[in-house]
Amino acid sequence: MSLWLAIVGMSVATFVQRASFLLLPPHVQLPALLRRALRYVPAAVLTAIWAPELLLQKGVLSLAPGNERLLAGIVAIAIAWRYRVTFGTIIAGLVALHLFDWMF
């Protein structure tokens, strides 16, 4: 039951977020500071999601070469930076993960 509660809650929250500004009357202007702050939201939030997945091993910071996820993530970052392709980044990261896992 708590799962359905989460689904309904997420649906409402997400719809409100998307509709928020689209439903404002046309003459309402957003404060400049808010508009500037909102620009940083995607980069900040998306990075905050993946960074712990790469840098933590069992909840502990791990920068050693034995951390295959970090190494594979670096490969994926390089591909994403250079080619800006979603599917290619995912494939490259998965291949790199298996490669590093096999090497170490």
Partner: protein, 200 residues
């Protein structure tokens, strides 16, 4: 999604009702950990803060449209149609055919997305764990976030948010994500000010 123990019906309902992939991945992780519904909803809200930004950004293009159309645009407003729409209409909010163009993007994207989720639910559990496909989730977020880093301020916001998320991962109720968002935004704004002053 399948790996997190969400039954297929609930997962499909979530996909159609919520229709925001990044928050669903985050939610699936939390649900697998047995987090309470409120925590899941809050995490989704934070992950989807970028949709608030899209809503603000796309508003001038649809200000003249009837309410029903604006509600439809709201529902379909996810990363890809937003990015493609802005690429096409960019500096021309007064150009004609915006709603039709958006619908032309949003409908095929919606169909592909729902079909992919359904396919994943059908075969996902049969894929061998040795393929390490769970790593595809962070990789997808890397693929989405790296192309956004077009200037120094953006990099500063992303790096500080990532570092905060790592350092704050032990905080209760996944509040590290909210903290990371706040730190990232603040650092981005400060970096903007810093480089402006330096350039002046």
């Amino acid at each position: 999604m399948a790996a997190s123990g969400i039954p297929p019906l609930e997962a499909m309902a979530m996909s159609i009702l919520v229709y925001a992939g990044a928050s669903m991945l985050a939610a699936a992780q939390l649900i697998a950990e047995g987090a309470p519904a409120l925590v899941v909803v809050l995490a989704a809200f934070i992950v989807n803060l970028r949709l608030l930004m899209y809503s603000a950004s796309i508003r001038p293009y649809f200000a003249g449209e009837p309410l029903g159309r604006r509600l439809l645009v709201s529902y379909a407003l996810v990363d890809n149609p937003y990015a493609l729409f802005i690429q096409r209409f960019g500096a021309h909010p007064e150009a004609a055919g915006k709603f039709d163009y958006f619908a032309g993007l949003a409908i095929p994207i919606w169909l592909c997305w729902q079909a992919s989720v359904a396919a994943g639910l059908l075969v996902g559990n049969q894929l061998p764990a040795a393929w390490k496909l769970e790593f595809a989730a962070p990789l997808a977020f890397i693929a989405m976030s790296i192309p956004l880093l077009r200037d120094k301020q953006m990099v500063a916001a992303a790096v500080s948010a990532g570092a905060t998320a790592v350092l704050a991962h032990g905080l209760p109720l996944r509040s590290g994500l909210a903290l990371a968002a706040v730190v990232g935004i603040a650092v981005g704004l400060l970096a903007e000010r810093f480089w402006e002053v330096k350039a002046a």
